[in-house]
């Protein structure tokens, strides 16, 4: 039997547990899983954990932690208890995500053309013009199918039965999809019997869907099948494994800047037979680094002149440069209005209420209630530079308040959400048990000839007891995510 770390009614205080209801009974989607969990014993689970660890390490599924030279390649902890979503819950999420990405692409088109939304007085002009993520170079350009963000990761948290909130839109180069796919592979190898007892929606079609999405946005002058390539900054990038994985799964070349060249007004890669034209480049390099002639002149990662070629319609960059203006944390607060403006519909998925420190009244409110809030940098990512009020010391609060006062435009604040919990294996050795841990969810969306959402996504879990930070750089792990079919 496994030790149950206070996995009882009310144990997770005010957080919603996705497995157990208020009476400690398993909720419907978790019934079979809960029975299976109750039948497991510690030594079998320890052995499976070992197997999983060996499997991931052998495959080289590692990520680099920036600023940590000693452990330059680490495994992301993998928790073997799947997170389960009922079919109806997923249908709701899927509709909400589709609505959101349609609106955000429409917003990007508008911002880089007529800027109707500014004229309508919904988004203030200075939020755009003064924003580092806004690329004036993109003004007036029509990308294929008018799509800017083709590959999107929408971060969602849950606080109650129907209480799903979008925490963040990732429209630049979202990562994590390879973990989603490999987690499923691992689970199918470790626990085939669990899949026999559940109708789990498959996800392995993702690479195929990615390929179709990329092919559907080939430049107009491409006749015949477009050649695709994945552009990586190289083996030292924290997500290199994913870049290689996706290129491999799609059967396309994984290139670095030095493999590419521009000749005769087209993009080519250097092959053993000489040059070969590239039509669609899935670039996993930030905007600033894709083209040293147009952007950061010190970049060694990109290709000089690539952006001009893109604007000339000779190559498609995925995602388009300049998408960051739509997932900026300061713009995030406007997304509900953005959805209404472009779709005429009410938002299906709610935002987390957000205070903008750039607005003096809201800033004063933030400073007065710092101990209850989560404060984030507008351009920060990976959980760096973030304050969790309830977990911070007096000293930390004072320091952070000073930083906000010095540069208010750089911060937003949100109430500390009671993120839902899911069961996770905790402890080790004879202390191995099951305990509730906070989770979030990143479904992956593809936008091309149509919108494709992979059922489920990547569940990130804060493995430290009570912690709300799920980022892998901060001790978070991942889980397989199951969408049950009706």
């Amino acid at each position: 039997m496994l030790r149950k770390e206070a996995y009882a009614v009310g144990a997770s205080a005010n957080a919603f547990d996705e497995m157990l209801d208020a009476d400690g009974k398993p909720r419907a989607p978790y019934r079979a899983l809960a029975a299976w969990l109750a039948a497991q014993n510690g030594s079998d689970i320890r052995q499976k954990q070992q197997e999983a660890d060996t499997m991931f390490r052998r495959l080289g599924i590692t990520f680099a932690v920036y600023g940590d030279a000693a452990a330059s390649e680490r495994l992301i902890p993998f928790d073997m208890i799947p997170r389960v979503l009922a079919a109806a819950e997923w249908r709701f999420l899927e509709r909400g995500i589709q609505q959101r990405v349609r609106a955000l692409n429409a917003f990007l088109y508008d911002i880089y053309h007529q800027q109707e939304i500014i004229r309508a007085g919904i988004v203030p002009a200075e939020m755009i013009a003064g924003n580092a993520a806004f690329l004036p170079e993109m003004m007036g350009f029509d990308p294929p199918r008018n799509i800017y963000a083709h590959i999107i990761g929408t971060d969602i948290v849950r606080t109650g039965d129907g209480g799903f909130f979008v925490l963040e839109d990732n429209l630049r180069t979202p990562s994590g999809v390879s973990y989603m796919l490999e987690n499923r592979e691992a689970m199918m190898r470790l626990f085939p019997e669990l899949f026999a007892g559940h109708l789990v929606a498959p996800i392995e079609q993702y690479p195929d869907m990615l390929r179709q999405t990329l092919e559907s946005v080939a430049p107009a002058d491409c006749d015949g099948a477009p050649t695709l390539a994945v552009l990586t900054p190289g083996t030292f990038n924290s997500a290199y494994f994913e870049h290689a994985f996706l290129a491999d799964q799609m059967g396309v070349e994984l290139v670095t800047g030095s493999d590419l060249m521009i000749e005769d007004g087209a993009l080519y890669m250097r092959t053993i037979r000489g040059r070969e034209r590239v039509h669609v480049l899935y670039r996993r390099i930030d905007d600033a680094f894709i083209d040293p002639l147009n952007f950061n002149p010190d970049s060694m990662l990109g290709v000089p002149g690539l952006f001009d070629l893109y604007r000339a319609g000779k190559v498609t960059l995925v995602n388009a440069p300049g998408t960051g203006i739509a997932d900026d944390k300061a713009i995030y607060a406007y997304v509900p209005e953005i959805i209404q403006f472009y779709t005429g519909e009410k938002p299906i998925l709610n935002n987390v209420p957000t205070m903008r420190c750039a607005v003096p009244e809201e800033c004063a409110q933030v400073l007065a209630n710092l101990q209850d809030l989560v404060v984030k940098e507008v351009h920060g990512s990976g959980g760096y530079g973030m304050l969790i009020g309830p977990h911070a010391s007096k000293m930390e609060l004072r320091r952070f308040a000073a930083r906000i006062a010095a540069n208010p435009g750089n911060y937003i604040a949100q109430p500390t959400l009671a993120l839902s919990t899911c069961p996770a294996f905790v402890g080790s050795g004879t202390g191995l048990g099951i305990g509730p841990r906070h989770v979030d969810l990143r479904p992956f969306v593809l936008v091309g000839d149509r919108i494709r959402v992979t059922p489920g996504g990547l569940t990130r879990v804060a493995l430290k007891k009570g912690s709300l930070v799920v980022n892998s750089s901060q001790g978070g792990g991942t889980k397989d995510t199951w969408v049950l079919e009706d």
Binding site: R57, R58, L59, G60, G234, T235, Y240, F241, A244, F245, A247, D248, E253, L254, V255, T256, S258, D259, M269, R270, T271, I272, R273, G274
Partner: protein, 314 residues
């Protein structure tokens, strides 16, 4: 296939082959250190081992004393020595990692687990007692990698670049070992054969793991010109120059068929190495084994450069 991918596959296999050769040379040094010298001490042949591995200059530049411990650590673990087993495995793995899509899961796992396990070894923990075990392990792991390559890699361009890398390295290695010690194969003025020369001949054969196959093949005691023939001209001997060149030429011809390019490399290889199949060892010995080896090492270097240019290695 990207030129960079071809280059990485070439270097990946080349460095794994080198790791194996350096381990074998280290074993020769270790054995000779256990063999009593006629003078009463031990032979301590580390200088020539370092030289054959192409590491002597770097070793001396670092100011290390010529002791068994220092030589062993430099050959196996020193990350600043680009030919140490550690460096070779790491370079091979980095190359594989940069072209993960071009190697099979089996190859990657063989390389990656070798790297993981070897990097976890503390040099200090590997005293003389564990050395034979470690050297065996390195040979097993390189064999596993080679087996995974032969057993699982698609026979497309990538396979042939990997083969060419491995066999160029092996040919170069055999040529360098011979060059290091060929003087002991030359007829001495006195014509006398003592146990010292017999020992040195055996050392040459051991450096290429051929001391037993020699006896099977020739059914006789060591004879210098047969040793030279075995290592240079016999296609039956898997580390001979002839055998390596045959396989390099074969892979080059496959590449020409697959890519419709690279003719000039085949022509070059045929010109320089085609003669090996008709050559007589007496001819090489008379016209000078040393000069022949110098020419050969130079030719393999030129061929590697020509392949890199022809197939856009960058």
């Amino acid at each position: 296939m990207l030129g960079r991918t071809a280059a990485s596959l070439f270097w990946m296999s080349r460095y794994m082959e080198r790791a194996e050769n350096v381990a074998r040379l280290t074993e020769v040094g270790y054995r000779s250190a256990l063999t009593p010298d006629s003078g009463g001490g031990h032979r301590g042949d580390w200088q020539s081992v370092l030289q054959a591995a192409g590491c002597l200059r770097g070793f001396e530049a670092r100011g290390f004393p010529l002791t068994a411990d220092a030589a062993r650590d430099y050959l196996l673990f020193d990350r600043e020595n680009s030919s140490s087993v550690m460096s070779c495995i790491e370079i091979a793995r980095n190359n594989a990692r940069s072209v993960r899509t071009a190697v099979t899961r089996e190859m990657w796992e063989a390389l990656n687990s070798t790297w993981n396990e070897f990097a976890a070894l503390a040099p200090g923990a590997v005293g003389p007692a564990r050395l034979p075990e470690i050297l065996d392990w390195i040979r097993q792991r390189t064999a596993l990698f080679r087996g995974a390559t032969i057993g699982t890699l698609l026979r497309d361009e990538g396979y042939h670049f990997s083969q060419i890398g491995a066999y160029l390295e092996r040919a170069d290695n055999t040529a360098r070992i011979l060059k290091m010690r060929y003087s002991v194969l030359l007829p001495s003025s006195s014509g006398e054969i003592n146990d010292r020369s017999a020992y040195q001949w055996e050392t040459i054969l051991r450096s290429v793991s051929a001391h037993r196959s020699y006896r099977h093949f020739y059914q006789e005691s060591y004879r210098p010109h047969h040793i030279a023939e075995f290592l240079v001209l016999r296609q039956e001997m898997p580390r001979s120059l002839r055998h390596c060149c045959d396989l390099i030429c074969e892979s080059l011809r496959h590449l020409v068929a697959l890519t419709e390019g690279g003719e000039s490399c085949v022509t070059f290889a045929d010109q320089r190495f085609g003669g090996l199949c008709n050559m007589k060892v007496e001819h090489i010995m008379t016209s000078g084994l040393g000069a022949f080896l110098d020419g050969f090492i130079n030719d393999t270097g030129e061929l590697a450069t020509a392949i890199g240019e022809e197939f856009h290695f960058l």
